[in-house]
Amino acid sequence: MTEQKDRELYHWLRLIREFEDRVSHLDKQGKLMGGVYSGKGQEAVTVGFCHDLRWDDWIFPLHRDLGAYLVKGADPKRLMAQIFGKRDGFAKGKDSYLHGGDLSNGIFGATSCLGATLPVAAGMAYKFKMRKEDRVAVAFFGEGASSRGDVHEAMNFAGVHKLPVVFVCENNFYAYSTPNELQFGVDNVADRAAGYGFKGEIVSGNDLHAVLKASKKAIDRARKGEGPTLVECKTYRYHGHSEHDRADYREEEEVITWESRDPIQLWEVYLQRKKYDFAAIQAETTEKVKRIVEEALAFAEASPAPEGPEAMEDLYAMPIDTEAV
């Protein structure tokens, strides 16, 4: 990889961390309403899978994948406005956090029924295949969502038609509080791929090199018409399920162990090994990501809040007035 790409990847890792830390901080200050689902600790997964995608590929992020929005091209300002429930957010205030996708950049907004985006991704991939477009759909889901029927139905259909879709399981070991051993009877979610007739792979989700390698393989396979892949990324979220969750169902030792495999620190070690001018890169990156987040925050705070009657907009293509005759 070139130095430029190494630096770019570092920029995304750091921007996501900075953005999410700021959002968590705003939440603690009581400046945000609604749920905040930090993906801190899982940055390498979204960077690894989104960085090399094309603009016209599509991603289906889960509720914790704020990083995927950023890397796929969402404007940080609008993303922050989305989190604030402002009119400039993708949902124009109709829902918060990651429930409003940025369709112009190929980012689909999830519902709260986890795994429900996978059938949508499969349908979209069907269109790519039918129309012989060499585009790819990347659908993220948690290991908890893997228990839902939608995930099975989507993978089964994708297997039947060898669709250009990549299923990315972010296994962070807890679905809210429920551990892997109460979630599934197999050792790995990826083991299930065999049941759908395609490949399953397991990677260390904190190691950006490993994620990039797996994502390249899976995305190339999809783009060449060789069908889906299920990639299970073993990773860890530092925070609770949401900011109000203290996550005391986990042993502190476990958290510390995972923090010692921090994806950003691992990448910094790599940059240092490459004999780049790391001190300069780090200083420059820090300055840049802080500025982007500051600007995003200023934009979001200045963005107008929607008025009550806007609740009736965007329901139908042509407004239907059910209350007046």
């Binding site: 369709l103 059938p119 991704a121 759909a137």
Partner: protein, 324 residues
């Protein structure tokens, strides 16, 4: 040309697929078999297996995939082999499709049609007789149609396919081959949101839709010497054509609502409430409802007959209301 109700549906899908290459059909056994009721017979041969897709038995996938296709500009028709199975795709309808435009702040349309055979009277039993429209009547972002004639079946299907919102199209399997009707050779559409006046009258209004329209019209004709009945066929349930309803209530002052879906929580309740609130001064009697009894639709003939509305029950209800 003389067509059955189901042939009208088939023709509409066929013509729309020929007109617009973005229209496609997904469902269980819709391709090779041509549908369990033959509603899509010949469509796969004509339009190709990539556009007429035999899916696995996965209702949630069918609807979810339809949403993904719709975001890409396709206009998928999604068949539930029996409408009773729509519950397996419930989340994709109410949380995924119905909110798609809303949660994306208007960035996208959701042009999908979800269709399938509903209704009883054919000894179909618990899972082949249901009328689930009320489950969806409560969901903003959806449209619901329920045609009673071959003409409307064709015209509403074409309008549903061309509509940019998710449309639930409830066809009635009792009507599939029992009604045959002349429809124009040339193209026509039936607009979503417009009721049809099936019979004009001055004494009493019956509001109904789908299969019971036929029993109501027959009852109204048979009772012509007793009472002058106006019959409204709603055709579209969401959004309801309140203008037509109110104009009729102002004229007759008496309203009976008839539907085959069960009484409690049915669409008739909403119609009655609204008439009560907005047409109170025009009413000469209570707004009455006749619907299926509050139980499941049972298999054995005597029980099914007992549960569902029929012409005798309609006649009796009309007499009761007319007496006010």
């Amino acid at each position: 040309m003389l067509v059955t109700y189901i042939e009208a549906i088939r023709q509409a899908m066929d013509e729309e697929m020929a007109r617009d290459k973005n229209v496609m059909l997904l469902g269980e056994d819709v391709g090779i078999l041509g549908g369990a009721f033959k509603a899509s017979q010949g469509l796969q041969e004509k339009h190709g297996s990539d556009r007429v897709v035999d899916t696995p038995i996965s209702e949630s996938l069918i609807i979810g995939a339809g949403v993904g296709l719709a975001v890409q500009g396709m206009r998928p028709i999604l068949e539930m082999q029996f409408i009773d199975f729509i519950s397996c795709g419930f989340d994709q309808i109410v949380n995924s499709a119905a909110t798609l435009r809303y949660r994306h702040g208007g960035q996208t349309a959701c042009p999908i049609v979800i269709r399938g055979p509903s209704g009883g009277g054919v000894h179909g039993g618990l899972y082949h007789s249901q009328n689930p429209e009320a489950w969806f009547f409560h969901v903003p972002g959806l449209k619901i149609v329920a045609p009673a004639t071959a003409y409307d079946a064709k015209g509403l299907m074409k309008s549903a396919i061309r509509d940019d919102d998710p449309v639930l199209y409830f066809e009635h399997k009792f009507l599939y081959r029992r009604i045959k009707e002349e429809i124009p050779q040339e193209e026509f559409l039936v607009p979503i949101g417009k009721a049809a006046l099936r019979k004009e009258g001055r004494d009493l209004t019956v509001i109904t839709y789908s299969s019971p329209v036929h029993a109501v019209v027959k009852a109204a004709r048979d009772m012509a010497s007793e009472v002058d009945i106006e019959v409204i066929d709603l055709r579209t349930l969401l959004p309801i054509d309140w203008g037509t309803i109110k104009a009729s209530v102002r004229k007759t002052g008496k309203v009976l609502i008839v539907h085959e879906a069960r009484l409690t929580g049915g669409i008739g309740g909403e119609i009655a409430a609204r008439i009560g609130q907005e047409c109170f001064e025009d009413l000469d009697g209570p707004v009455m409802r006749l619907a299926a009894r509050d139980t499941h639709t049972p298999f054995a003939p005597a029980m099914e007959e007992y549960v569902l509305p029929n012409q005798d029950k309609i006649t009796e209800a009309i007499r009761k209301l007319a007496a006010y």
